[in-house]
């Protein structure tokens, strides 16, 4: 019976994790850049939701939109102004650049918001549902549903809009896309903005469910890594599958190894994956 509780927990976590990872995966796949800022983007999205609620009474789900817009704008500017200069350079250079930016952003948030953990305490929570012996927090469940909708939205954008198709084209073959007349630089910026927007949205989504501090940034980043590799880098459906898988892994892993080892377990899985099946569960074709 308790198995179903862990299953439910894992699935609900999975949706949020998918949202956390989707933007990161897209940027990695299209720009070939591992964006170390991603974790802090999520944290900023959280703070936007937190302060919107505590100061203005705006529900986190509404903040999802504001966060997406704010983070999207930040992402666009950061990419076009800074990251674009090193997009073609080596792994070393790009990783260190985003590392430096992450140090700056993390420090700024630490100074602005202080280091303690915060969480949104909803005045009117949706409550807890009972499905047999399984307890489900409806707020969390709602977050997960929205998370999946966002991923679906992203996927539709990539499939159906011309901007989205430009992104896919650049992902598969940058030079061919260039020859087709696609403005690769602008596409990069848009992709990065989308990634940041999703990160912000994810941060707002989890504001009512989990306590967050500036320190949480690297944690989210690490999880996003593993999920990406699990699901296949650059693949949005992959992020969804990877997120679910990771949510389940964490839920059941916490039982077996203790929750303090959740991250270690994730990392071990990551290394095994890198060695054995680097394309992830869905592979390169998952787009």
């Amino acid at each position: 019976m308790i198995f179903f509780q862990y299953l439910a927990n894992g699935l609900i976590l999975g949706g949020l994790y998918a949202c956390i990872a989707a933007g990161f995966s897209l940027v990695w796949g299209v720009l070939s850049i591992i964006n170390l800022l991603h974790g802090s983007f999520i944290v900023l999205g959280f703070y936007i939701a937190y302060f919107s609620y505590t100061m203005l009474g705006i529900h986190p789900f509404v903040s999802v939109v504001t966060s997406a817009i704010v983070l999207g704008a930040i992402g666009y500017v950061v990419q076009l102004g800074l990251i674009n200069r090193v997009v073609a350079r080596s792994v070393l250079v790009t990783l260190i650049l985003t590392f430096g930016l992450e140090l700056m952003m993390n420090n700024a948030m630490l100074v602005s918001f202080s280091a303690d953990y915060k969480k949104v305490l909803l005045q009117n929570p949706l409550g807890i549902a009972h499905l047999g012996n399984v307890f489900i927090s409806l707020d969390r469940a709602a977050s997960t549903v929205i998370a999946f909708l966002l991923i679906l939205l992203l996927w539709l954008v990539l499939r159906l809009t011309s901007v989205g198709r430009a992104i896919v084209a650049v992902r598969f073959d940058r030079d061919a896309a260039l020859l087709m007349g696609i403005d690769v630089n602008r596409t990069y910026a848009i992709t990065f903005a989308l990634g940041a927007a999703l990160a912000g949205a994810a941060g707002s989504l989890l504001s009512a469910s989990f306590p967050v501090a500036p320190l949480s940034g690297p944690l989210f980043l690490s999880k996003a890594f593993v999920i990406c590799v699990l699901g296949g880098v650059g693949s949005v459906p992959g992020a969804a599958v990877g997120g679910l898988a990771f949510g389940l892994l964490e839920s059941f892993g916490a039982v077996l190894f203790g929750s303090e080892y959740a991250l270690t377990l994730a990392f071990v899985v990551l290394i095994i994956l890198l060695l054995v099946r680097p394309h992830g569960l869905l592979g390169v074709k998952g787009f």
Binding site: W28, S32, I34, L82, R85, V86, R89, S90, V91, L92, V93, L95, I96, L97, F99, G100, L101, E102, L103, M104, M105, N106, N107, A108, V111, S222, F225, E260, Y261, L263, T264, F267, V268, L270, I271, L274, L275, P278
Partner: protein, 311 residues
Amino acid sequence: MTRTQLFIFVAIVALLLAMPLVGNNYVLRLATTALMYAVLTMAWNVVGGFAGYPLFGIAAFFGLGAYSGAVVQSSGYPVALAWIVAVIIGTVFAIVLGFILLRLRGHAFAIATLVIAEVLRELTNGWTSVTGGGMGLNLPFFGWSPTALAMFFFYMMLGLATVAFVTTWIVAHNRLGFALNCIRQNEDAANIVGIDTTRYKIIAFTIAGAFAAAAGAIYASWTGYIEPSDVYDVLFSIKPIIMALIGGMGTVIGPVIGAVAFLVLDEVVWRNFLQLHTGVLGFLIVVLILFLPSGLSSIGLTRLWRKAASA
């Protein structure tokens, strides 16, 4: 290497050797730290600069060496033994890890090495019975005066740095270095030309791991107290890369120059921006990266072969 680089290097060495005469403990501490980073950067350079494998986890070896040495020392054994054990453990770990990870390239290798350091940190945190876990580990030391201690560790780091330098120089000028150079430029062609790439990569990785572990062991004894989040700090992995980048990845003296230069910058920032320290550091990093010359590859290194072959 250019005349300017050589000049700067000689100046640095002279300055370092003059340190004990200054006698000021603060300056000695700074110099010892600079030497430690020089060791880490030289170690990193063998894998990242010569072989071209983006190693993002040298902190794993640093921390492993620190804890190995610390555990042995706090069990009552002499310091020398502690350091030797640390190097041995670091070496063995590097060989095993090398076998597993060196089949990865590019991003995958970078991430995997980064993650290893994190895993080690978590495991060290959890193994409270041996390592003291999150509460850290205290090391006993002989009741020397602060000045004597400062001098002692300065000379120890200087010794290690010298050994590291000589090792790097030898590697750069013989077949191993040539092979690593080939691997960096075209690993498939290197295989075809008869280079046992796996073997040479593992040797490079082991050299890096051994020296990083040694530095960690000395660091642990020097500071007298370590904890996982300290010695496995990702900054110990990142700073050597930046130092190598600014000093020149392709040369033997580049890492030393880069280490000293960056450390001075870092110290200035530390002293002046306490709360914003990491932020300003990040800013520095961003500026450095954006304005680094783009042809930062093997030009310096290849000149060494020419000299060696026509000697």
